[in-house]
Amino acid sequence: MTIRLKATTILAGFAPAVLLGAMATTAVAQDAIRVISHRQPALEYYTNQMIKALPEGRVTAELMPIDKELELASITMSSQSDAIDVVYLNDASFRRFAANGWLEPLDDLWEKYKDEYDLDDFPPSVIEAVSYDGHIYSMPILTNTELFFYRKDLLEEAGINPPATMDDYMAAAAEMNSPRRAGTIMSLKPVDAALNEAHWYMNAIGDGWFDENWRPIFNNEAGVKAITALKEMSQYAPRGFTSHANDESTINLQQGLATMGLQWFTRAAAMDNPEQSRVVDLIDWVAPPGGGARIANDGYAISKFSSADREEVFKMLAEAASKESMLEGAKFSMPPRLSILENADLAKQYRWYPAARKALETGAAFPAMPDFLDVGEIVTRHILRAVTGEAEVQAALDQAAQETEELLASRGYYEN
């Protein structure tokens, strides 16, 4: 018995398959603008503004921790899929995405809508931070700086002044440390959080990450000193600090489980939120002791592979970044608009502004290279090995430096 496939049978099978395929593709094409973003109070506010900027249902926003968000964006854009339209990027990740050619240049739209949305209000340094190779790729949404948070009531009680140097910080943390309340928060979850924390130590105690030729210097004597300090400080950190990112550290402060530590400006308002915080009005801020803590410029960029109407998307972003929107958003983050930054009332209204102004002066951004996050992957793992005692600090940093050089070499940094 042989099987004869009739032509008619084949066609009969094909037709419904084709129909289904057609239906599926049309279903995908018409849809909403999809925004993905890191999740923190300021960005919750701004993505909401984006949703409100366009008619209902035109915009969907998904917020998730930054490492996940970047991973999702990387995988989607590397396969050139149109599944994502708008992506949140900070200065570290922004360069990598632009260098990969994954972002849509915005120069023409920027010119076109300059007057309508007063885009000249953004200072040149901010425009610089969202440009790559001479083109603007991202709509600036916030400037963020790390601040030093501390429980003013507890420090006052113990007769300690807010720390001005790293040694002061170490002493204070040691003094305030107890089983129920850690001396300090510490956010060492790879990659983003750990990199932030290490960046501060590396600048305040060490000599920074790279020399002018992009050769790693973080394993020199000063760098080892910095990480050794980090390791010592970790004994005053809450249990589980190796997996704490900004969310967990914020909660630790809010719940009174830690006394002080480094966190973002954007988390300051949360300390006084009566619905979440037990320490309303008990937290105060100074610029991070020793200086060198991270400054970030974040924005939203349009994917080069997006199938949405780029003008519509740009207008949505411009709306969210408008003067009115940012005036309100000043509560959550520092708006990159000159007109608002110079507004004196804000300093009075929000208690953390003075510290933030100072931090802006003493802070330092990440090294301006597209591959810093990939370097971060390597470096943070090794720093954690050193901090948890799996390896000696010098050995771990040496290995990190070696792997970093290999990586950068393969990405073409040392070819002249």
């Binding site: 042989t2 991973e71 990387s74 790879p190 190796t242 997996s243 793992r381 954690l384 050193a386 799996e390």
Partner: protein, 291 residues
Amino acid sequence: MVRWQRGLWLFFLPSFGLLAVVLLWPLGYAIYLSFFDYYLGSDVRSFVGLGNYADLLTEGRLWNSMWTTILIAFGSVALEFIVGFALALALYRLHQSAKVFSVLLFLPHIVTPVVAALFLKWMLASNWGFIDATLLTFDIVPPDWLGDPIWAKISVILADAWVFTPLVMMVLYAALQGLDTSVVEAAQIDGANNWRVLRHIIVPALIPAIIFTISVRLMDVFRFFDIIYVLTGGGPGTATETITIYTYQLGFRMLEVGKASALGVITLIVVASLLLTINRVLNSIYRGGDQ
């Protein structure tokens, strides 16, 4: 014997087609990619022959992950085997009415591994996790279950055992059902106490099931991913970074697809040779009399 007819090969096509698409093609592509230096960000491929393999095999991080994998794998399988066997024996001796317990014992396995891992993460989270909170109310300061390098390894081993012990238990229990009780009784009359009956009668009779269980579990646990990923993400540092987690880092975080593919191929070879060795060793010890 089936008489071969012309059209019969068409029956192979659906299954073979599916296998080819889902298994053979990705495998082939992975092997192909492993010979390239391919960074997904720049989408540039350059042929490096065995360069990726050479890099990996001389890298400290790879051997570290290999060692961690072996430690977790053998720790896990040993634990699940001993506990699973003990439970199977216990079930075997229980009366009918108590056998409803077997359903409850099987629950951890029915739940999706990721869900089980999330549940365990909530139990083990520091300070506000279930275990920590309970211990703290008694003023006992617990260790950092997921953040201390040694405890993280233990937590991962326990997590895997929790999910898979029921499986081992079930397989061995089923094998025990097939045991000839009169052989056990003969041994009892001959003077063997419980321990000796176990050693001389039950274990030899169960060897095929034991080999099966150990082989399957070892093979699986070498490719262990979901539970570790959810619980510790390979951390802290590289304390729980197994080969699979490292492969994930290479492929999805650092976007070094060529190197990740090479590591995948290395993993395949390691697991396959491990399996063959175990099979051969266990068979020769216990099937000595077989022709």
